[in-house]
């Protein structure tokens, strides 16, 4: 028997999450545009200080977590969910260490335009990852307590948000890190 998967066109929760994500996209678009508008002013600093290779490795963890999330939602599997959390946490650790290094070199949100735009954009993304980890954690907790009580839509909804956070990082990584190669 094939279970009918909830669809955005008919399910309130999924449509609500989809609309929320659309609205969030405008939010990130504004921040990304600000970064791009000031790109030239900060390009030299960005080229000199950003570690593309290292961040790429941590990015792979986040990109991979979208895969584990998809598997978790499909199988309603707590294990894959745990894997997603671990990968998301690895990504955040990477970002934290990047921050620590930059701050150690005297580059902070108040130091110069590059720091202002870099920390705002990546910081806001990081906060969204953190919010996603909280949502994943809540799902894990609910799933452990009473597996049957977790509505299938919850898996889909949290998954949609997590993929969104991942997709935003594709843009941010391209603009901020890969942009220094241009």
């Amino acid at each position: 028997m094939i279970a009918v998967r909830p669809a955005i066109g008919t399910n309130r929760t999924l449509l609500g999450v989809a609309i929320f994500i659309a609205s969030e996209s405008i939010f990130f678009l504004a921040i990304v545009l600000a970064y791009v508008a000031y790109r030239d002013a900060g390009l030299a600093t960005a080229k000199a200080t950003l570690d593309i290779g290292r961040t790429a490795v941590f990015s792979v963890a986040l990109f991979g977590s979208s895969g584990t999330m998809a598997l978790a939602a499909r199988a309603e599997s707590g294990r894959w969910l745990a894997a997603t959390i671990v990968l998301g946490a690895i990504f955040l650790t990477g970002q934290g260490s990047e921050y620590a290094r930059l701050l150690g070199e005297g580059i902070g949100p108040g130091s110069a335009l590059f720091g202002t735009t870099f920390f705002t954009l990546t910081g806001l993304h990081g906060l969204h990852v953190l919010a996603g980890l909280v949502a994943l954690g809540a799902l894990v907790a609910a799933n452990r307590r009473r597996r049957r009580a977790v509505h299938p839509v919850a898996w889909e909804a949290v998954g949609m948000y997590w993929h969104f956070v991942d997709a935003v990082w594709v843009v941010v990584f391209s603009v901020v890190y890969l942009g220094t190669l241009l």
């Binding site: 008919t10 309130r12 449509l15 609500g16 609309i19 929320f20 659309a22 609205s23 969030e24 405008i26 939010f27 504004a30 921040i31 600000a34 508008a37 000031y38 002013a41 902070g108 949100p109 108040g110 110069a112 335009l113 720091g115 202002t116 735009t117 920390f119 705002t120 806001l124």
Partner: protein, 541 residues
Amino acid sequence: MTAVPLWVRLPARERVGWLRTVDHKAIGVLYIGMGVAFFAIGGLEALLLRAQLATPEERLLDPETFNQAFTVHGVTMILLAVVPLLVGFANYLVPLMIGAPDVAFPRLNALSFWLSLVGGIVLYFSFLAGGAPDTGWFSYAPLSERAFAPGTGVDYYILGLAVNGAGTIIGAINLAVTILLMRCPGMAISRVPLFVWMTLVTSVLILGAYPALTAALVMLLVDRQLGGHFFDPGGGGQAVLWQHLFWFFGHPEVYIMVLPAMGMISEVIPVFSRKPIFGYGFVAGSSVAIAFLSFGVWAHHMFAVGLGDTENAIFSATSMLIAIPTGVKIFNWIATMVGGRLRMTTAMLFAVGFIAMFVIGGLSGVSLAVVPIDLAVTDSYYVVAHLHYVLFGGTMLGIFAGTYYWFPKMTGRLLNEVLGRWHFWTTFVGFNLTFLPQHWLGAVGMPRRVFTYAASTGWGPLNLLSTIGAAILAIAMVIFFVNLVRSLRSGEIAGDDPWDAFTLEWATTSPPPPENFASIPAVTGRRPLWDRKHPELRDAP
């Protein structure tokens, strides 16, 4: 039918539960209550401003207080009065109009309201915390940067607006999903009342516009609290970025405030003309066009910045284009009235007043879209006059029309029509006396946001006239409040359908039970209640 003037008929155990209610009607009333309270506060601030400007060289307020008063007046009226009032009506009416038992996410709905209210309280807390924001409602950088606004006022502005905006965004998601997925059988999207259409379009505008404001607020907060340089020209930033982001929100915000009011009069005018709306599809479609265009006109607020002739010409053209779908609506309403059996109730008076005043505000808006005219009168009282014709002459008159029309549904009692007429005519006279002279003041060069002016400017008489108008407007609002309180207590019992109306909200009791409907009439057209009452005259499906 109840003789007890309960605002919302809640089960007994929940009557004390305004704090924890998740009923869309109760939350709608909470929103409206919030809007009314802040409307009164914002009105008192406006009276202070008018008193200070009544005569030249007046010293009632010091300049610092004056700056705080106009800043908070603007923010209050726009974000804490008008938007909550409109969202409140939408919350109350949309589920009833589409035959739904509640909104899609009732608990989220409560969260939206409380976030909106807490945002307003945070803003007003600034008065206790060392001074309100004093940088104008659009809080231009670098004036709003720490170097020029060292107090905490702007920080409370940022936090208050961000929290309030989060509530508004969540509310818009809720209403959009409700309209898209919770319509009763037969209620096709092409049959929903126009107020529902306007709410849907408004929700889309909120979802597109508010995040830009939130983003700008976050950047300003980074600048102020973390020493950032987004809008700091000294650090390589550009102050004009704030203007772009703010007006990308700010102009759609105008339509967020006016489209629901247009929806209200699109319900009122047909019922009191005893005709279906003329050109339903055009009213709905023109709103979609307005929404689409509204995201491409923001820089008409920035003609004086010096973006360049090409940019100015493009934004001038797009701004003028908006007059077309707006004009379409004006003709729709007039054509609805033509040949109808008009019943000039207070609700209808306000609806007709809306059309007249909004046309004036719309036309002065088109004149401001002409770049040379804008350059001549930018930041003058001409702009103040224009925006008040749109937002008071338009939106507020529409909200009053809606209040007289739906108050009986929400409370079970009618508002007093005699007081209503007094309310309308004093509002109409007071409003025009206040704001019409400001066109001339602006044209002869009186800048907005000055706390006083020299007698030699010759601006005294028109300013005095404007202040007298404001006093009359204040009397009008007192009449309105008296009417509200008296009618709540002892108004005439309304019954389910006092206006012989067309739409589903009148097919249930006044006020409606918690589940809204005992049974929903079969919907086969745009006027389901009319069809049920007059099967022989039913609209063709």
